[in-house]
Amino acid sequence: TQLLEQSPQFLSIQEGENLTVYCNSSSVFSSLQWYRQEPGEGPVLLVTVVTGGEVKKLKRLTFQFGDARKDSSLHITAAQPGDTGLYLCAGSLNYQLIWGAGTKLIIKP
């Protein structure tokens, strides 16, 4: 049983478009992390959200933690080919990290 569901599993869009990736659970997390993984590399942390309703921005990326701390979203504005990668969310639950299965994002020039 997947505790953390990510959607969509795969997304391929044109450069310049906007997109949103979702991370959902029935569990309440004390915090949630977003990572990006490029081919041949390990995941790299993008952001950690801690407070319910929190919004963090990283250039064209906007991360939001749900009010109930059960879900999160990542919105990318004007996507660029450099945004291509596997986006993983991971929630902190009972001092362990629970991982989503990832969203594979391809941005076509």
């Binding site: 942390l45 991971a90 990290l97 991982w99 299965a101």
Partner: protein, 113 residues
């Protein structure tokens, strides 16, 4: 200077062989991990060591044996390799145990033929 380095990056071997993957971190972190990423990209934790002590040991075949000679190193030895062991294995570290932010190595892709 790589923070978490693992070797080898690629490993191709026959079924039944024994192989090891090594990991070193120069971040001064207390806790190190081994994760397995399968073909569907799902990351699954295998082991975690805090200051050389095993603290997480998920349901992993006992053919997999981790070893931490000191808190900066965590190696993974695999006996009697099977086809299903083919995956990318990631080493990671955190400042302390608990759900802290992970720093990952670049991964070791194991292919069992």
């Amino acid at each position: 200077d790589t923070a978490v380095s693992q070797t080898p990056k690629y490993l191709v071997t026959q079924m039944g062989n024994d192989k090891s993957i090594k990991c070193e971190q120069n971040l001064g972190h207390d806790t190190m991990y081994w994760y397995k990423q399968d073909s569907k990209k799902f990351l699954k934790i295998m082991f975690s060591y805090n200051n050389k002590e095993l603290i997480i040991n998920e349901t992993v075949p006992n053919r997999f044996s981790p070893k931490s000679p000191d808190k900066a190193h965590l190696n993974l030895h695999i006996n009697s390799l099977e086809l299903g062991d083919s995956a990318v294995y990631f080493c990671a570290s955190t400042p302390s145990s608990g759900a802290n932010v992970l720093t990952f190595g670049a991964g070791s892709r194991l292919t069992v033929l």
